[in-house]
């Protein structure tokens, strides 16, 4: 049973408070959307979850173990995988080599050869098997996003964090990513998806978290969140003076 618990997490960058007392839980293979206006702290939260940032305060627990302060590779090995907002494929490595990196890192004693078949299966699933020998830098932006998803399949984490998986992606590739998420979710993997594509995220998610100015202002069923006045206010905006008064 997957269990992620974020307990009162704060993250400050100098005088800027990027996360303010954020708490939530993920129990089981939930498909959770994480939304919020630009600068709300969504990416900072994912960076805290995967160990790039150490929280200023609060705790992160995963499957009964406190993981905040662990280096990213330890967190990845424990079962939290992520993609990045700006695609970060290993550009001067082939597509197949990109997929071998997480597999080899997760299985230190296994031989490289034993993962090639699995990597090709993953590429087939992502309709990219014909690109196996290409350097990642030769791929389009959308294909590089698929490649990042493929790396996650090789990592085989329990929780998958996707940062803007639909941004700037061709509709056809978007369908593939959508299918990826639903198929993998059906295999008991939890998802935390950041997206500005409201239609997709509301359709896809079973639960929505909404961040605004580093504070979690809503957590619940997408329909309920859609009608939440605090969420509407965060998205439609309010008068700056009113905010200061508040």
């Amino acid at each position: 049973m997957i269990e992620l618990e974020v307990r009162g997490v704060y993250k400050n960058f100098g005088g800027l408070q990027a996360l303010n007392d954020v708490s939530f839980q993920v129990r089981g293979p939930e498909l959770i959307g994480l939304i919020g206006p630009n600068g709300a702290g969504k990416t900072t939260l994912t960076n805290v979850l995967d160990g790039i940032h150490k929280p200023t305060g609060g705790q992160v627990w995963f499957n009964g173990e406190r993981i905040d302060g662990f280096p990213p590779y330890e967190i990845a090995r424990r079962g939290i995988g992520r993609t990045f907002q700006v695609t970060r494929a290993f550009r001067r490595m082939t597509v197949l080599e990109n997929l071998l990196v997480p597999a080899m890192a997760m299985h230190p004693t296994a031989r490289q050869r034993s993962f090639r078949d699995k990597a090709m299966e993953v590429l087939r699933f992502l309709t990219m098997e014909h690109l196996a020998k290409e350097y990642a830098r030769a791929l389009s932006g959308g294909q590089q996003k698929l490649l990042e998803l493929g790396r996650l399949l090789m990592l085989d984490p329990d929780i998958i964090i996707l940062d803007e998986p639909f941004a700037g992606v061709h509709p056809k590739l978007m369908e593939i990513i959508y299918e990826y998420i639903t198929t993998i979710n059906a295999q008991d993997k939890a998802f935390l998806i950041i997206s500005h594509d409201m239609d997709t995220i509301f359709t896809l998610s079973q639960r929505l978290l909404v961040l605004d100015f580093g504070t979690l202002i809503a957590d619940g069923d997408p329909t309920a969140v859609r009608n939440d006045p605090a969420v509407i206010e965060a998205y439609l905006g309010e008068d700056e003076e009113e905010r200061k008064d508040a």
Partner: protein, 351 residues
């Protein structure tokens, strides 16, 4: 893909075997030429010394290629580490009367230890910051060796004993060639292993590699230690052959030459960097003085200017180096492609 699985299997695996054979034949020819070249060079101890020196530079350039080209750690400390290996061996021999072999082992370990410290100190440094850090480190080492002349003999240079009494230039040639071949084999093994895969991933994006489960701290420190051990060993052995080492060998110009040689050969290719260094070193020696239509010209420092021009040309027009694309086309490309894909493709077509 053929309809017949067995036929398809054959079609895929045969070129792989051919390519591997082609590569090994190429390596065998190269090694045989190097093994036999003393038959020609033996007529001139000077020429033998130049080629032996070129082997030393080939080790430095290829190990720098592993560190900077494969792992993305742009360090300027290589010559300083070779110097640390040589000075450690020399000082132990002079002050404690240890044998050259003991000194070489100690010098290698000393360079490895310093590499470990540099690796740990540079964990968070990237690109220009790492380069500046290692330049500063190299200069500190050089200045210490220069000023502490009561221990190091300063600019007079530290005398080192020969590897053994009565060693001939021919034996020194084969010792250095052996060192080059062994270090190349070790570096190739590293770069084609899991370690090498992780190094290249880290070179591309450290955060993304860490997010994929790669312990970037361990591998970053490890590659500094490994390359420091290699250059420390090379430095200790080579300067036992030269019989003297001075702090000038650690000047930034010397390190720049190593980098230029690696870049001209192909920074991301161990073999390209080694061949680049070998040919560059010999060319620099040949260009000391030239005869054109009976006119004798001493080029002196101008040969370095020509070398600089070649480097600029390489950086502008051939960023993969001048030699690497040729090596890649002749021996590597098909092997790499087939090695990566053959297994998976074979699985795809097998019943």
């Amino acid at each position: 893909m053929s309809d017949h699985p067995v036929r398809a299997h054959r079609r895929i695996t045969l070129p792989l075997k051919q390519a591997r054979v082609q590569r090994w034949v190429g390596v065998a020819v190269l090694v045989t030429l190097l093994l036999l070249s003393p038959l020609y060079l033996n007529q001139s101890p000077y020429q033998m010394g130049v080629v032996t020196g070129a082997f030393f530079y080939a080790i430095l350039a290829s190990s720098w290629s592993l560190l900077a080209g494969v792992a993305g750690q742009f360090s300027f400390a290589h010559m300083a580490l070779a110097g640390i290996g040589a000075y450690s061996a020399g000082l132990l021999g002079r002050d404690l009367g240890t044998s050259p072999l003991t000194g070489i082992i100690a010098g290698t370990l000393a360079a490895g230890f310093v590499g470990l410290v540099i690796g740990l100190l540079c964990l968070r440094l990237r690109a220009a910051y790492l380069a500046l850090f290692t330049i500063a480190f190299s200069e500190i080492v050089r200045i210490i060796l220069l000023t502490e002349f009561q221990y190091t003999e300063g600019t007079n240079g530290l005398q080192l004993a020969p590897l053994y009494e009565g060693i001939t230039p021919l034996a020194e040639y084969y010792v250095t060639l052996g060192l080059l071949l062994v270090s190349m084999a070790v570096m190739y093994w590293i770069s084609s292993s899991r370690f090498g895969l992780f190094l290249r991933a880290m070179r591309e994006d450290q955060e993304a590699a860490a997010a994929m489960g790669v312990n970037v701290v361990r591998y970053k420190v490890l590659i500094f230690v490994v390359t420091s051990l290699i250059v420390g060993l090379a430095g200790a052995v080579f300067y036992h052959q030269v019989r003297i080492i001075t702090p000038n060998t650690m000047e930034i110009l010397q390190m720049s030459l190593i980098i230029a040689m690696a870049v001209i050969g192909g920074m991301e290719s161990l073999l390209g960097a080694a061949i680049g260094a070998f040919l560059s070193r010999i060319s620099l020696e040949l260009l000391r003085e030239i005869n054109i239509l009976g006119i004798h010209i001493e080029l002196g420092a101008w040969r370095y200017a020509a070398f600089g021009l070649l480097l600029m040309f390489t950086l502008r027009f051939a960023q993969n180096g001048l030699l690497y694309p040729i090596i890649d086309r002749l021996f590597m490309r098909r092997v790499r492609e087939e090695t990566v894909s053959a297994r998976a493709q074979t699985a795809e077509v097998e019943p």
